[in-house]
Amino acid sequence: MKASPSHITQLKPKEPPEVMIHIEDLYKSFGENHVLNGFNMKLFRGENLVVMGKSGSGKSVMIKCLVGLMKPDKGRIFVMGREIGTLDREALDILRSDIGFLFQGSALYDSMTVRENLEFPMRRHSEKLGEITDTLPLVLEALESVGLAHTVDLMPEELSGGMKRRVALARTLILRPKIILYDEPTSGLDPITAKEIIELMRSIQEKYGTSSLIITHDVDCARVISERMILLVDGVNYAEGTYEELVLSKDPKVEAFFKK
């Protein structure tokens, strides 16, 4: 007997995850140095994607193209459905308010206090945070999320390397971004501080539900934080998969990344 359609439980087809960043066929050269040679990538909502590559492999160039700090020679970049290359300055600035960027060397403004550093992004994007009469509670909340509320009146020169990285992370959080880009988040830090920063990145992702793109050459960082990894070799995405998949690969170029 054929069951009537009303008795069949209709399985809803699973919706594909939302693509937050889509890079299509990206090329970038500096003279004769061809850094990116057709790089492709997708970052999905809520995921932690690690892009690994040797120093000088074009990871930082790729991430700078993503936020419009560099113009690619060829290729298209979509962030939350909007193509970066077609946006004017105003539209790009609005889109940038949804992207947090943690720079390799923290990039805190030397001449400003920690508070002023955190208030700086709010100057242009105050409408995003609604009517604000006092910015201090927001600054303190962001600093508390990285465990450094007591540094609010200090100057960057008074902070250690790890503290600077945390304050920079708080600055990326101040505008409640949907995507956070991490450029070598653990470089130049001792292993204990590096571990603390990785834990912090995880907790921020859980708390705020951000999508994270992490550029690194630190295998330990990749192991702990990645849900998916891309290996960038010779300007292209050479291998892709989870950490466990890649670590078992027999490809010599992939193996070279994970050799102790």
Binding site: K64, V67, I94, R96, F103, G105, Y109, D110, P121, R123
Partner: protein, 260 residues
């Protein structure tokens, strides 16, 4: 040894630099009239530039006044023309020495400072961080600094001139028993609008050149930390050279007006 090649390369580099500086100046004018305007930062920069250079300008001006009078005195005495001392010193200081020496002192103090500051911000990715946070770094850092030097230099020149004349009056008071009142009466009698106006206009251009070159060298600083030192150094050399070129053009033009 063939020296033609390095010389031609040097010339080429020089003209490329002039071209880039002109484009930079063009961008400055374009960005200056476009909102949003950074008034708060402009005031902060005016205060910093004026305050940081004031002591140096006053000390230099005072010594120039003293030395010029002491050096000229024997010759004027020999020709029986010592009574012309206030006229000679007043005209030399107001027309030429005051603006040029103040500008050179400020080139060493301000242009190198701006070059090093912006260079270090470029190297440590602070300028990129500013761009990503939605603030136009050219407007915030460059436009405010160039406007501040352009506005503050004429004020510093006026103060430098006043102190130089006071130094000269002091010598005349000690050596020639000339009262301060008589000395300054003679100075003001000798000075005409034709001496004051071109000198003041020239000072605005000097200030503009100091800010422009300092910002240009710092903003496009390359080659890491070594580039920061280079930016500061070349900013002073290039500005000093440019000041003399501007001075020559200014004197040439005002001379044409005198003849008319």
């Amino acid at each position: 040894m063939n020296t033609a090649k390095p010389i031609s390369a040097g010339f080429r580099h020089f003209f490329v630099e002039i071209g880039e500086l002109s484009l930079f100046a063009g961008r400055f004018f374009k960005e200056t009239v476009k909102p949003p305007f950074e008034f708060r930062e402009l005031l902060r920069q005016c205060y910093h530039m004026g305050n940081r250079s004031l002591t140096l300008v006053l000390v230099t001006g005072f010594i120039i006044g003293l030395v010029l009078t002491l050096q000229s005195r024997p010759t004027l005495v020999e020709f029986g023309a010592v009574s012309w001392m206030p006229d000679m010193v007043g005209i030399s200081i107001v027309r030429e020495l005051g603006p040029v020496i103040t500008a050179l002192v400020c080139a060493g103090r301000i242009a190198s400072g701006i070059g090093a500051e912006l260079g270090s911000m470029r190297v440590t990715e602070q300028i990129d961080a500013m761009e990503v946070s939605g603030t136009n770094p050219f407007k915030y850092l460059v436009v405010t600094r160039i406007l501040a030097t352009t506005l503050m230099l004429p004020l510093l020149v006026i103060l430098g001139d006043a102190v130089a004349l006071y130094g000269s009056a002091l010598v005349e008071n000690f050596k020639g028993d000339v009262s301060f009142q008589l000395y300054f009466n003679r100075v003001f009698d000798a000075l005409e609008y034709g001496d004051l106006v071109p000198a003041t206009i020239k000072s605005f251009f000097f200030g503009f050149a100091i800010g422009l070159v300092g910002c240009f060298k710092g903003y496009y600083s390359k080659k890491g930390t070594a580039g920061v030192g280079l930016a500061a150094n070349t900013a002073v050399v290039f500005t000093s050279m440019l000041l003399f070129v501007i001075d020559f053009i200014a004197v040439f033009i005002s001379d044409i007006f005198y003849e008319l």
